[in-house]
């Protein structure tokens, strides 16, 4: 199992609502491409933050890639994330004043995964696979199109060979051709690297790219009880 959640409860300390997340038993097998859909603001991102240890649950246990997140210190969580999990968000995936190469290098430097191999070669081949024009590699990313930026975000997410990739509405700001292009590149890379993909979106049109589809309210008991 790549992800396993048991009896999870979580609420933000400043929230009036009792629980934002309440999950009895939920797991994701390794190598899956899982699509979770649900309306905006229902707590999908909160679930993702729990999975990668950015926030800790009020109750229950989470294990990711066979390791229990409950037992890790904040520092260990930072390390664990850097080494094992890749992310792509709707926006702000890149530090906008750095170039594509600098952004990807930065991500690799926090991880232990790439210490031995030739990182520059790996970055170039990733950017080539993702069809980012080579003249754009060294320009600050805020001068590039959103489509380009999201493709660079995929490269950044894959640089450390993550076993788990988390994508949170990454296609929301893309137009249709870029979106299909993005989805096919993302899923191909996941298959090549045997990376488990956890993808959340409100856009059910994306369903056909995945082998497993779940409704968020089926996972989260709290979500239906608003």
């Amino acid at each position: 199992m790549t992800i396993q959640l048991k009896n999870i409860e979580f609420s933000y300390s400043n929230s009036l609502q009792k629980n934002v997340i309440s999950v009895d038993d939920w797991s994701v097998a390794s190598g899956e491409k899982l699509f979770i859909y649900g309306p905006s603001g229902c707590g999908k991102s909160t679930l993702l933050n729990l999975v990668c240890g950015i926030i800790r649950p009020s109750l229950g246990s989470i294990s990711v890639l066979g390791q229990s997140l409950n037992k890790m210190s904040n520092r260990e969580l930072d390390r664990f994330r850097a080494n094992n999990i890749g992310y792509i968000f709707q926006q702000f995936n890149l530090i906008n004043y750095l170039s594509a190469i600098e952004n990807i290098t930065l991500a690799s430097q926090f991880s232990l995964a790439n210490k031995t191999i030739n990182i520059d070669h790996k970055i170039t081949s990733l950017l080539e696979t993702l069809k980012v024009n080579s003249e754009d590699w060294s320009r600050p990313v805020n001068t590039l199109s959103i489509g380009q930026q999201q493709r660079i975000a995929i490269a950044r997410a894959f640089i450390n060979n993550p076993k788990l990739l988390i994508a949170d509405e990454p296609t929301s700001s893309l137009d249709e051709p870029s979106r299909d292009n993005f989805m096919s590149q993302l899923t191909t890379l996941c298959e090549e690297n045997q990376t488990t993909l956890l993808f959340v979106s409100h856009d059910t049109r994306l369903k056909h790219h995945f082998n497993l589809v779940q409704k968020f309210t089926d996972i989260n008991n709290a979500a239906g009880k608003h």
């Binding site: 520092r75 992310y87 004043y97 600098e102 430097q109 949170d168």
Partner: protein, 414 residues
């Protein structure tokens, strides 16, 4: 990686960062300049006289004697007799004795009668001798040597002739108008009360006080009598004596001897001790400047903090992203601290460069207008300490911002 990221990040926000650096630089300039002036004023004050081991006057308080003999303010309570001067100057432990006589003025500036030895042996600051900007010391009975400020303010030049007034007010009712004094020398600026004094010979001063028309006629008709030709014009009394001893060891013995003199009530003071006593009475001035320095430091640190906090709000996505790719909280903390350190180091450098240009330019102006001699070298022990403390305080002051960056990154819901 940390340094490269901090560098790129600062470069990306160069507009606001440059403004920040300018603000902090100005604060550091004010901080260093105020403290420098404070130190220099103190130094300038305490260097009004040096090399003089004892000042002898009539029986009076040490501050009073110092004020009228060195600073030429206030009034002597009484004079001391010429015979006492002759007796004391003969003592074997004494190297030089300089008699001074005060009481007359010219347009509000004090006139001091003395001997030519004054220009040879009186020293100020770091044992510096008096230097002539123009002309030479007095040789004839009615020769006059002006302090730098007197000459500048009143616009006198060599060869001008001047009437002295009796008493020390700016407007005197009694002028010594039968006798005119000639300017033969102008001293270089010293930043001490010497600049505000007119110097003449004791004989000249004595002649100015003659009342019999026949005596005055004798002196004024024979043009250019040298000082040695009028030796008979001995003053009956003088205001004070400055003593330079052969050996410093004898100071206290001699002071006791003079203070317990049987023939005339005299007192001898150590100018260094009296100067520091006097400076202590000016503690308010000293403390005010200190207080200004502290206020400047506090305000600039608050400013820096505000700017850092604002920049963190602006960079919350960047910080969140760094956390997501695995940057530890410590890394984020260091990033913000490093930014504060870079800002303060750049600002300090700019401030030092600016001051090293500004000080030499303002030096002459300050000396001429305020009589304070400012050293153009800003690097003193206290200033290095100040800069060090400023640096440390910056690092401490940036902690809340750095912590908020870390917390912000933890709580942001991506």
């Amino acid at each position: 990686m940390l340094i490269n990221l901090a560098y790129k990040s600062l470069l990306h926000r160069k507009g606001s960062i440059i403004l920040t650096i300018i603000t902090i630089s100005v604060s550091i300039i004010v901080m260093l300049a105020v403290d420098h002036i404070r130190q220099q004023a103190k130094l300038s004050f305490s260097s009004s006289v040096s090399g003089v081991d004892l000042i002898v006057g009539t029986r009076t308080g040490s501050l009073n004697l110092l004020l009228y003999s060195v600073f030429r303010t206030g009034t002597p309570t009484n004079n001391i007799s010429w015979t006492s001067y002759e007796r004391i100057s003969q003592k074997p432990t004494i190297n030089h004795a300089i008699p001074i006589s005060l009481g007359d003025s010219h347009q509000g500036y004090r006139v001091m009668g003395t001997t030519a030895n004054y220009f040879e042996y009186f020293t100020y600051s770091n044992k510096q001798q008096l230097a002539f900007a123009q002309g030479h010391k007095f040789e004839h009975i009615f020769d006059l040597v002006l302090g730098a400020k007197v000459a500048k303010t009143l616009g006198y030049q060599l060869g001008d002739s001047i009437i002295l007034s009796h008493g020390i007010g700016r407007t005197s009712f009694k002028n010594h108008d039968s006798i005119r004094f000639n300017v033969v020398g102008i001293l270089a600026a010293t930043g001490t009360p010497v600049d505000q004094t007119l110097h003449t010979s004791l004989q000249g001063l004595e002649a100015a006080h003659l009342t019999k028309p026949a005596d005055i006629k004798r002196l004024t008709q024979t043009a250019e009598l040298t000082l040695s030709q009028v030796d008979d014009l001995k003053p009956k009394s003088i205001t004070a004596i400055m003593l330079m001893l052969k050996s410093k060891m004898a100071v206290f013995t001699l002071q006791r001897e003079i203070n317990t003199d049987k023939q005339e009530p005299l007192s001898a003071i150590l100018p260094g001790v009296a100067l520091s006593e006097l400076w202590q009475t000016m503690a308010v001035f000293d403390n005010t400047l200190h207080f200004i320095t502290i206020l400047v430091i506090i305000s600039s640190l608050i400013g820096l903090n505000a700017i850092l906090l604002a920049s963190i709000r602006e960079r919350i996505h960047e910080i969140t992203l760094l956390r997501m790719v695995g940057a530890s909280a410590g890394f984020i903390f260091l990033l913000i601290e490093l930014e504060a350190i870079v800002i303060v180091l750049l600002s300090t450098t700019i401030a030092l460069v600016a001051l090293s240009f500004l000080l030499p330019i303002s030096q002459t102006y300050v000396l001429n207008h305020y009589g304070i001699l400012i050293d153009s070298n800003i690097i003193s022990k206290t200033n290095i300490e100040l800069m060090f403390y400023f640096f440390i305080f910056t690092v401490i002051a940036a902690i809340p911002s750095a912590l908020s960056a870390y917390k912000g990154a933890r709580n942001s819901h991506v």
